[in-house]
């Protein structure tokens, strides 16, 4: 199964990065989706993994002006989405990396560079990353303050649950939930919020 290219890197730090993408690429990335960035400048097998925690569509003066019109033509909408430089930014939280075939749930030694290509992970890659280690990447998510943790975890676990289920690994979600309960045992309100969101994502 091939990975889908969703854009190129705009800016990055050790803990996260921002990707710019065209409107035509916007169908692929989803909130909570796992992405990977193969580092173009290295010869090693070195990839950084992250979770999409925000998809931001910016405006400009003309878009603000167009919304005041009674009716916006289809061709004007297409013009603004395809021809004009509408900035769509996808913010990604770094949760691990792979080096020479080994996946680690640690922050990467170096961030990706400008214009590196970002791919949406396919279900195989998602299962591979989430099965590696013992859910160490959860701590990056639980430490993250700029997005609703419960919603982000629920979106991610929902996608991972489906991928593992298709591969008859039905126990994965239980282990993941158990690990979250352990990690959040001293933070009752966050735990309730995360479990509530998980309930909505997994069992509805």
């Amino acid at each position: 199964m091939t990975s889908i290219e969703i854009g190129r890197l705009l800016r990055a730090g050790t803990t996260g990065f921002v990707v710019g993408c065209r409107v035509s690429q916007l169908d692929a990335p989803t909130f909570g989706g796992l992405v990977r960035v193969p580092l173009g400048h290295t010869k090693d097998d070195y990839q950084i993994y992250g979770l999409i925690h925000n998809i931001h569509i910016d405006d400009d003066g003309i878009v603000r002006q167009l919304v005041t019109a009674d009716h916006v033509d289809e061709s004007v909408i297409a013009d603004n989405r395809l021809n004009r430089n509408v900035p769509i930014e996808i913010s990604v939280l770094t949760i691990g990396y792979r080096h020479n075939g080994i996946i680690k749930h640690l922050l990467p030694p170096r961030p990706p560079l400008s214009l590196d290509v970002i791919y949406q992970c396919n279900p195989d890659e998602l299962c591979q990353f989430t099965s590696a280690g013992r859910f160490g990447y959860f701590r990056h998510i639980l430490r993250f303050e700029d997005a609703p943790k419960g919603e982000l975890l629920a979106a991610h676990l929902g996608q991972a649950y489906q991928a593992h289920n298709q591969r008859a690994n039905k126990d994965w979600v239980n282990q993941a939930t158990q690990e979250l309960i352990t990690l959040l045992r001293d933070d009752y309100s966050t735990l309730m919020s995360v479990l509530g969101a998980l309930g909505d994502a997994l069992y509805v």
């Binding site: 003309i62 002006q65 005041t68 019109a69 009674d70 061709s75 013009d79 989405r81 395809l82 021809n83």
Partner: protein
Amino acid sequence: MTLTLHYRGEYMALDFQQVRQQVMQMGENALVRAQYLREKRRKARQILDAYAAELVSLQTKVDTAISANPNLRCAVPTSEKLDHRASCPTIPDAVTVLAADGSQINPDRHASVDFCLVNVGGIQMRCDAPDAPTTTVQSQLLYDNQMYTSSGHITERMVALMRDLRERELLAYLTKKIDPPVITLTDGPLELWVGRHGAAQAREYEKKFKRYLDALRQLHSAGASTAGYIDKPRGDLLVRLLEIATLPQNEIDKAGREYRPYLGVTDANIFSALLAPGERSAIFGIQSRNASKYTAELALHFFYLNVSQNEKHPYPVRVEIPAWVVDNSQMLNDLHAVLIDQTQMLGSRPFPYLLHRSHEVAVVTHDEKRQVENMIALELRHRGVEVGQVSQKQAVKNASQQTGRYQR
């Protein structure tokens, strides 16, 4: 004594105390001036009403005035009454709208390399299709011998003329590939700005003007209509016609010279009170020494169009069109309807959407100018050619704009 003014640590080049005094004087005069102009507008409107149907006698009077003053500049009535109002027709089903705009990097003697650039952009949209419009950009770098005309180093005015010419040629080129009906638009008048030239410059101008007329003829041959859109017009061609109307026959030689009783009143002032939203005015010819070079199917005409959607806030714009559009009622109606449709796309700021987009497609930013300059310098150095240096004046200006440790 020199006072150095600072505001939040930055120099203030403007003496706001001096300006404030003058702003206060301006404010004191404003009410009187507004009352004065209101009265002038009211009288001008009365003259319009009185002479609205006197088309033949007005035409005769203009002809007499031209013989006395060949440089006369005014509107010329056509077959529609002066106060004619045409409501907005239905928008045609299948029409392609094509807009072009241009931008340039002017020659800069302070820069490290001697070059200029003309950039034109076009955008086309089909009215009945949901597809995204297609855009075209043509960039032409001028260097070496192209930086000289027979009269010497190329001027900013000549670059502007080349830009206008290339806009029109781009429209003619793109129109050939599109099935009619096609409506082509540019920002600003159809009439090229002439200015005053020396003999050598005039020859250059004539060459380019001939090509401009050829491009217009190509648009005509292709069955396309064309229009120049003038936003916030300050012209007073109709007001000048009304002045001629009231001028006694024995003083007709004063037309357009010392007899200017309604100076300060603009055509837009008159049409603001006359046109309802979406309506266009009567069509007028243009009498001027320069406009007389546009003959037969190219003869220049104009009308005003109220592009506002609000009864209380009219917004008349001037639209310049050639005679072949005036003579074809279908083309004229389609243009009227498409312009209203285009201006409504931007909601509360009525301006043709495609004209704005053509500006976006064509505009060259300061940053891009700097990049082109660097690109040329790099290429020259790469080939072992010595690159000139920025003038000392420019270098010092650049340095003063940089934030440094010594700046407070």
